[in-house]
Subunit: 353 residues, 4 copies
């Protein structure tokens, strides 16, 4: 495979399909119910238009930014996704190596195939830790403590999983992951034995979580707390009230409530609701450089990709992830030059038609 | 057939097509003229978006409700459809058994393949009786009296059949049902001999009905009267005026006036017109759990399904109908958890984007 | 061919394609440039929705109306189209026989294959005469005089042919009609020898016509003058000013200016402009009964069909045209019953969503 | 090839594809990233509707206009495109001969396959010179001086190429043009050796250009300065401020910033911003006569075509380009007659629905 001959991240999807177990591929690929939201996440971007400005005297542009305290070279991070060994034996460590090469922030999942410490070892860029609460809270406390010690810069609490969505495609492609894919961060008790990945998540994660968890977390750690899965102005306001340090606008890649809006379509209302008090990021549907500019114009400080890097990982390990980031970086630089902005801070709502 | 391997009610359509006489299938499947309204009933739902709320502290949800006096476990009832033996020898009795298992309300049709008493015998859940006026009013009076004695909880008068619609597909797939499919509730006179189902309905039902029928019915029975087929605010107001106890917003599954709006698209205006004085239900296009949530958000107390359960019945009898209800229940529970509502009463217009 | 097994007028299109010379078919079928307006005429109707009213006490409905002084049983007339022998040897006479059977008004074209007197002989229903000005005005004067004598009830002046449109499909299917198809109403001079139908029309019709023609016509005849081809409020106002007795909203079946709006989409502005002072009709895209109801709701007193009856004529002569009218009549009656109107006058804007 | 049997300029695309090297074809054909803007340029025209006026007394129409000082017979010019020998050995000279025949203005590119003097020699119509700044400004100064001496009537500065767009299709069809295709206007230095056309442009053109270039140009030449690539009201205002003599609304044929709006969709805002002080033209998506009328109605004094004439050139040299212009002229004349305008100045916003 000549990675240099790949010029769009979409191309990795078919390579990954060929490389992966069909059940594992379906698990990553699929969304909830009819996958309306899954498709909308991508399609919605095609309804936005960018207004290019000319003769701006640009020779080069700066794609750098900060996410909370982390300095990044790209406003494109790697969203948390489970069990990377399903895609490639090098799993999250390969992702970490690629992310580091491009100065991109990686969010490592609670249900990772490598321990959070192993990933930290492989990483040279900033890391955040994604948290699913465990039915056994002592496990959660342990994870948070270890994340802090391993140098993770924030806790990203996933708030949109009251239960795993109704994932038709996963049900139709029933898949029991082999034990060696993990999760690695803790021992899975007998009571949480799983047959599918969603069942594992359901069994381990427990339920009944409310806003009080945010307060509980705040007591437990001094790390910034990022809430992932906010889709409404109302919940953004509640997040502010409960002391969240940042938000990720996300519908969980279309995997939770089908018929949720595309995340890009609600970004504006969330940004407006937080009134600049905390940072807002977005995931869902990012596939090319101009997507990043649209999200930025609507107020997202950064975006995160999920499936695109998983496909890169499945196709070619760390090199595949690196090529995904390389393409997006090149497209972003090109887009900034042709939009007429020297830095991300120059991108505003006036750049949207 | 492993019903457990079916995860979306749409899948039953092809199974039914394979199991049924093509003419009978076309009769159930088809709509009026170009079937624009038939398709719109389903497509319209895809234009609505649900706004998921997070961290609502939910462990479980309650899908129960009341429809007039009936307690139901699901806000998804079984709409009246004719001559169930066209789908399966067990007909309406099989539907009744499945409905009872899920605590769903069944509306039994005037033109049923089993007598209303036979269905009542098979049922364990609540039953309502759908009424087509007979040209011979003594037959109608007899039916209403028998329905009351058999424990039916309401009379559902179909008001949108001034004449059967122009059903192109039915005409192209001319089908004469065998005598044993019924109708069973009364003897069909010589003058109403039918060659197609629509002709039967046209011949038996008579015409010229006006709002005075509602008053005539009110005199005749103490059962609540539900009007099925209201599509405008104006007729909703007239229904109130004439003492209807509840309404079903319906375009008769796209079988009457083609180019009628999707029923979900007019639900709002009907709900607004009744100002909460009576209950409003909806049929037309319900295929998955999130459809129910959209209808509920727009003010429908419950929804009814038609073709989906007929396909289940044709494919696998009572078990097929049960699986249809099981899928919808599972999707509804999942949708409520991920929308962030503990009960149906919590679903509001604010849940729609 | 069992005409009784045809249930939608669209079906005649393929029958006509099989029956006709490909060049003649292309001449009838085609529109201007990319045929955007041709397709829009039909597609636009699919964006309108009818609001059905119920319990209106209807047993039957009245589809009758008057167009100027003519009493018609159907509000669906036959638009003027050229050289019917291209479709069938019985040409305009066959159309006249079918129209008479259904009480429909026929507009006979200047460029007809039978003389206007021959058509009048065959007709039992009302006739109007469509006029293209001839470069030789004495021919035009003669035609008007003969039309009056033959009992035609109005002159329908086509106003939208400054020159025949850029008809790509016609150019690609070059077709020289045989001499026997006509035109029959007058002798075609050497100077107007044609190779294609559009060239014939261009050569004979001349150019440079302005509103003064309407005044010239008014002097020449006491017959009502109907202007066919009005697409704007501005021209409707001018038509009033110049004493037109009625208008036909039409884009010439999409054959003149491509990217004109669908005629149904501008009907409203024309109706509003004439303020009820004269009658307004519509052609373009009528294919089924509910189309007629939509046009009526927007203010058209009647509609005219073109290609549908040509396809019927090509497929089966007078019987084919009759079946087209029969289908539309049946659909219209059905539509009126299910819309809840007893007569065409009851159809209003409130019937549109 | 019988050019007279071609009736739509789109048809030349497939002829050109067959005639050209696939890599060269891909270079011309392709757009940026996902080619959304490339497709939108064409698709956007299909959303506009023209309002035809009737009985305007037209016998003929005048398609003539002036562009700055140049008199043209057509408001359809030939946009600058690079290296015409990629399409045909006669290159820009063939284009000049065809343009002259139809009185159309040609803009010759800096990166032409023939020298600007050779093209001027072949031309009989008006010429403008498109300018890319050279990293070596003395080359630019020389080009401008030579253009003035050779009779070019204006300098058209391309302002929307901060860097060549991310051209996925070009990358996938890597193509190294043979040395004989040029560019011919100057010697390409060792430092600018290219492997693809975009690389050539990138290497030669340099970067960092700002509005001060316009002032520098103004000092250098008395020729009018036209800015090509303005897409916003803001940049139109800056262009006025910096003394531009005319603007071309253009997104570079969808080759620079993907997700830019269709050029026709922003024409209105640019026209409004310049308040009639300077002329505004448009390129992007012009494929037929009615496109020209839409652009004119929105305020464009003239339009330019790119790919259409390249396809004509590739298919049949000067004769192919001539046929493209002939078709557009015929469609334009036909469109004006059927829109009801005698001259281009009569086309106004009121002609749009």
């Amino acid at each position: 495979m000549d990675l240099e001959q790949i010029f769009a991240v979409d191309e990795f999807e078919e390579l990954a399909r060929a490389a992966m177990d069909p059940g594992a591929f379906a698990y990553y690929y699929g969304g909830a119910e009819q996958e309306i939201t899954l498709r909308e996440n991508i399609a919605a971007f095609d309804r936005y238009r960018l207004r290019p400005r000319v003769l701006r005297g640009l020779s080069e542009v700066d794609t750098g930014s900060t996410l909370l305290d982390a300095e990044v070279s790209l406003p494109i991070g790697l969203a948390p996704t489970a069990l990377h060994k399903l895609a490639h034996p090098d799993g999250e460590c390969a992702v970490a190596r690629a992310a580091g090469k491009y100065g991109a922030l990686q969010i490592v999942a609670t249900y990772s195939s490598y321990t959070l410490e192993e990933v930290a070892e492989a990483a040279s860029g900033p890391l955040w830790f994604q948290l699913y609460m465990n039915a056994d809270r002592s496990i959660t406390e342990d994870l948070i403590s270890r994340a802090g010690e391993a140098g993770y810069g924030a806790i990203v609490l996933t708030v949109d999983l009251a239960t795993p969505g109704y994932r038709t495609r996963e049900y139709r492609n029933w898949f029991v992951p082999p034990p060696e894919v993990g999760p690695a961060n803790f021992t899975v008790g007998e009571g949480a034995i799983h047959s599918s990945v969603s069942e594992l998540v359901a069994n381990l994660t427990g339920d009944g979580y409310s806003w009080s968890i945010v307060e509980w977390l705040r007591e437990l750690t001094e790390l910034p707390i990022v809430l992932k899965g906010i889709m409404t102005a109302e919940d953004a306001a509640l997040a502010l009230e409960h002391g969240a340090d940042a938000l990720i606008v996300s519908n969980h890649g279309g995997r939770q409530l089908d018929r949720s809006p595309a995340s890009i379509d609600v970004l504006g209302e969330v940004v407006e609701a937080v009134e600049g008090q905390i940072e807002v990021y977005l995931d869902g549907g990012i596939r090319r450089g101009t997507d990043v500019l649209i999200a930025r114009a609507l107020g997202a400080r950064a975006v995160f990709i999920g499936r695109p890097y998983l496909w890169g990982l499945a196709a070619a390990g760390a090199d595949g992830v690196a090529r995904v980031l390389d393409i997006l970086q090149t497209q972003l630089v090109n887009g900034m030059l042709n939009l007429g902005v020297a830095s991300l801070d120059e991108v505003t709502r006036e750049h949207l038609a």
